[in-house]
Amino acid sequence: MNINPTEPEFQRLFVELKRADALQTPAFEPLTRTEAPMNGTVPSWWLVSVSLAVFFGVVLSHQNQIRPPMIENDFLQWADYSTWATPSDELLGVVNSIPTGEMENPNEIK
């Protein structure tokens, strides 16, 4: 036997391969019907995408529960603006309370 197969030996090998393939050839009829997956199992890429979608859905809903809704945030911001005062307002208050030396009723000095 020659361990380096020549062309006729290739042909013989391929004939054997053909016979082996014939044994696992699926029936013709089912392949011409518009039915989904041959093996009847759900493809794993589909399972992966569905589980990823569920995971992100859960994460997003959880985040929404932790974070106050936008409207509430706006109200809090406006409330902060209404009580806000600049440091110069404080200064003006102090200045106004200092006596200026003007008499309240000049006619009293006589």
Binding site: P5, F10, R12, L23, P43
Partner: protein, 186 residues
């Protein structure tokens, strides 16, 4: 061509088509069956129409090949099944049962592994010539390449396959010392 006539021709070539689909799907039987189903539906629904420029067999094989390439691209997410993918790459699927002996099965398994390891074009040309009995010109027409390129792939493929088979442990263990010779090479 009428649908009934198409069905008849497809059925006649069904076994050979499956063998070709296996080659296009790197010997993955489940994927080959899916590809074949998609190709048949394309043809029967009129999405792929036979124009009579080549022989029906050549045209059908070109449709199967293109479908296999499309399916492979579309289902890239299958790579997520990395473990399964690698396992399948390491040992291509084998027939569930065989009428032949263990040695015959082993020689076929070795041939499958050697074929899968060849570059795709070389694998395709060798399959079309040795398995399907097409000429190099017809093989070139199925693959959509020039005859010169097909001839180069054919010669290189033969050389590589020969090398791979002679390197394989199985073919070394069965050297001509008289006792165990694989039936496929007798």
């Amino acid at each position: 061509m009428k649908v009934t006539e198409l069905r008849k021709q497809l059925e006649e070539l069904h076994e050979l088509s499956f063998g070709w689909a296996l080659t296009c799907c790197r010997q993955d039987a489940a994927e080959a069956a899916d590809v074949l189903q998609t190709a048949y539906l394309k043809i029967l629904n009129g999405r792929a129409a036979f124009n009579g420029r080549a022989s029906f067999k050549t045209w059908l094989f070109a449709v199967i090949r293109n479908t296999a390439i499309d399916e492979h691209r579309r289902h890239w997410l299958r790579l997520l099944r990395l473990g399964e993918y690698l396992r399948e790459r390491m040992s291509p699927s084998e027939p569930s049962s065989s009428n032949g002996g263990e040695e015959q099965e082993e020689s076929i398994r070795v041939l499958r592994v050697a074929l899968v390891e060849l570059p795709r074009r070389q694998q395709e040309v060798l399959h079309l010539v040795f398995y399907q009995g097409l000429t190099i010109q017809e093989a070139a027409s199925v693959i959509g390449i020039r005859v010169g390129s097909a001839r180069t792939h054919y010669e290189r493929g033969k050389r590589r396959l020969r090398k791979k088979l002679s390197e394989s442990k199985y073919f070394h263990e069965h050297q001509p010392n008289g006792t165990r010779v694989p039936t496929a090479l007798c």
